[in-house]
Amino acid sequence: MKLPRWIIPVVIVILTVAAVQGSKFIRIPSAEMEVSEEIPGTEPVRGVFIVEGVTCRDTAVSAMENAAAVDGVLRLTAYASHNRIDVAYDPARTGPQAIRSAIEGPVYQENTGEFVFNLYRVVEINGVPVPVSE
């Protein structure tokens, strides 16, 4: 069957738009961490943190390790390509600001034995942009 030449750009546009838009609805975790078990009778809350600096699995794990140090954090799931860390926490023991401070805290570098500051910055919590920390 003979085809018109405009079929090529049409196919390209349709597939590209479908792929870019479709990828927004698909999330596969880059890393997951079980920190502690929830206490029976409590209802964990999920916080969604968009973190600048979390761009790959390694940075996600490093930021998650910081958050895991907070008492009350139960589970962490990172989606590095979305710069996103989902945190399940016990609201009776901690809150988003404590988790944010922990994520933005100094990060220990095993290869140099030093702490590095300002590696990660939380820019959004549960869809709400947050101002830069002092």
Binding site: M1, K2, L3, P4, R5, W6, I7, I8, P9, V11, I12, L15, T16, A18, A19, V20, G22, S23, I26, R27, I28, P29, S30, A31, I50, E52, T55, C56, R57, D58, Y79, A80, S81, H82, N83
Partner: protein, 257 residues
């Protein structure tokens, strides 16, 4: 149609540069890697075996790679000539050349042999990426080096490597795409069975202009149907063809003559 393709190519180069500059200036969290379909292939093995992506690759890379496979099955390697910014750069250099055919020093036999280099390049990259969990190719990836605006992993020697690649493209048309591009070779088998093909009709006068115009060195005038996996449907052959409808886009089946 040629203008449409140019608009596609230039728009994508501008878009890639915009993404690179915005990320470098801290205005955006999206990197040029986010839209690289090869990242999807690099991360695929790790995703299957370890259920997680390699380094900075993610869902978008994977979806784009799957879409690219579908695109290639439908319309061959149009990605290379309509979308890929490195292909656009190569083609730009190709157009600046006076002599557009492959240099005589590289015989047809050697040209075919050299194209095989892409396969070990692809396998080495995939194996080492899987082994290290890092995008080790990033520092020498022309797309990343040119469009990330001195991004992560780009070193001084990255520019020397890119200089050699550009010199190679100046010496041999589309040298990077022909002999080294790992994504091109990954798409090759899918392109070979691609649905939309160029067919030569009985109107052809065998002038050979299409052969000279093909950036990939395909002898268009000698084949009835262009089945080569290298055909990117850039339609340069149809642009220079002096006879109307001597080259047609067709699906398999049904003789054009």
């Amino acid at each position: 149609m040629n203008i449409t393709r140019r608009i596609f190519q230039i728009s994508i180069v501008i878009a890639a540069l915009t993404v690179g500059v915005r990320y470098a200036m801290g205005d955006s969290r999206i990197t040029v890697e986010t839209y690289c379909p090869f990242g999807g292939l690099e991360g695929l093995l790790s995703l299957v075996t370890h259920h997680q992506f390699t380094c900075a690759t993610g869902e978008r890379n994977l979806i784009l790679f799957i879409a690219l496979l579908v695109l290639t099955l439908l319309s061959r390697r149009v990605f290379c000539s309509w979308i890929c910014p490195v292909g656009t750069l190569s083609e730009g250099i190709f157009r600046l050349r006076k002599r557009r055919r492959t240099p005589a020093a590289i015989s047809r036999k050697w040209d075919r042999r050299l194209r095989l280099i892409r396969l070990p390049v692809l396998l080495i990259i995939l194996f080492l990426t899987f082994l290290t969990g890092e995008l080790i190719f990033r520092g020498v990836d022309p797309y990343y080096v040119l469009f990330s605006i001195h991004g992560h992993d780009v070193q001084w020697w990255s520019y020397i490597v890119i200089g050699f690649i550009v010199a190679g493209i100046v010496a041999v048309p589309m040298a990077w795409c022909r002999y080294l591009c790992p994504l091109g070779v990954a798409l090759w088998p899918f392109s070979r069975i691609g649905l939309i093909r160029l067919k030569r009709t009985g109107a052809c006068i065998q002038c050979g202009k299409c052969d000279d115009a093909c950036p990939w060195g395909i002898d268009v005038s000698r084949a009835e149907t262009i089945t080569s996996g290298e055909c990117t449907l850039c339609l340069e052959c149809t642009r220079v063809c002096p006879v109307k409808d001597a080259l047609e886009l067709r699906t398999p089946g049904g003789a054009p003559r």
